[in-house]
Symmetry: C2
Subunit: 313 residues, 2 copies
Amino acid sequence: MLAVVYDERFQPLARIRKRTKAYEGAESGLARIVEMIRAALDEAAVTPDRVRGVGIGCPGPLDVNRGVILDAPNLGWKQVPLRAELGKALGAPVVVANDVDTGVYGEYRFGAAKNARCVLGVFPGTGIGGGMVYEGRIFSGASRTCVEVGHIQVMPGGPLCGCGHHGCLEAVASRLAVAAAAAQAAQRGQAPNLREAAGTDLAKIRSGVLAAAIEAGDKVIEQIVRDAARHIGTAVAGVVHLIAPDVIVLGGGLVEAMPKLYVETVTEAAQARVLPAYTDGFRVVAAALSDDATALGAAAWARENVGRQTEAS
Amino acid sequence: MLAVVYDERFQPLARIRKRTKAYEGAESGLARIVEMIRAALDEAAVTPDRVRGVGIGCPGPLDVNRGVILDAPNLGWKQVPLRAELGKALGAPVVVANDVDTGVYGEYRFGAAKNARCVLGVFPGTGIGGGMVYEGRIFSGASRTCVEVGHIQVMPGGPLCGCGHHGCLEAVASRLAVAAAAAQAAQRGQAPNLREAAGTDLAKIRSGVLAAAIEAGDKVIEQIVRDAARHIGTAVAGVVHLIAPDVIVLGGGLVEAMPKLYVETVTEAAQARVLPAYTDGFRVVAAALSDDATALGAAAWARENVGRQTEAS
């Protein structure tokens, strides 16, 4: 978890990181969030009464209108009334949004997608997160977040996905899927550099390790990453026909470690698949703000929505 | 083509139909449109100075901001400045939108999707048209229409689509694809009722004929239609993850002829595929307004956008 205190011009005054320890449960998790925010305010020497709003970007699915985490598989939390609880504890208006959405909003406001009319964000990680900013606002469903690009089916009958279906984008192109394919190559002796650096444990095959192995000459790892990026491109093409984004932002650790490879391969695969009318309508870019995108985006989104969202409930 | 004159409360005052004859070219087509609109006004006894606006729903892709038909394969027209030309000829503000979008907007304002927050429309016909109304407005791309549900890939390596790719929804579930499969069944002797009613000519195998053949006992035709509807359901599930519509409107001739079969089968297939978080978030309904949806929607959309769209150019 990351907490950042921003001033009115979105200059950071303090920044604190804490391990989430989601497995300890939602109650203790909420307490840790409150503690972290208070510590960040302390460090910034900002008294609680001067806080205009608190923006939270967190894993979904969420009911953003009520500010409730519905059922977050990555946290193991269900039906957690985040906005109400934090609002009570902090005495300030709280605005809750999906972390990928706030990341995309951050890139839209301050980063790689400034002034775009419709931004699609695709963030491959443990899963593959998606988010969208349309005409200046985070796009969302009636009672839950959406833009689940990770569950676009790209390979009917393909590998089993965490969601129980087969051939979802996530099942063939997430960091986890890439790491699993890379571990197999290492085990087969086809990726000596990767094997030496990380062995065959998925938990150790992180984005930086993969990038370094490619750099050191493991051709098969490059092929694995390009295949994954190509699947992302195919899925992106499908989304382009639906929502015609002008900018597609790729983010997350893998992209940060290999921005050129990802932008090139995704662009190529998407261009090969879109209808002619769309070929000149979009560009693919790498995220510019790294982890800060989510915090900045959450803060800026809170500023736009304090009042608006809290009244809606 | 259909022209309807509405009063302020959207009660129809006159209605005129004309064959499009798109093959005669855009110039003659424009002249025919102007003629038809003038005839409708005459019939309604409305003088041109009393026209508040003209809404046009026409096949895309379009640049809706400039009111230009970019390249409409079904018309064979390219780069036609519809808004400018009609505006000049009629002396009234003109608002141009995609015909499926205006149909969906019509259903949103007056029909099967009243008050929905996000409406997805899927209209199987010669192709498969899509449209979306999000928070009260037609959703559109930066410089072109979108929501091309017909080109969602549902069967990689599947049948060739008119767009040049393989396995698009349109290639397996449009009226044309259904008619082609039905004609084969008729030729094989498996659909005696269809064969007797329409032979094996795709042009004669219309929606009503298909519905009548099923009614008369051609089991294989029912299977063909259900297979097509199931593909639509799979594609709909993919869109549900992306944009979380609360209402999905199915329209067009096939659906009108067999609303129960379509709504049931699409619902079932979509429910089987969506993530658990979305199962109770949407419902599938049949369009309620038939052809009038497009005209009504175009008129209502023009009323909302006169000034707004014309200033944007």
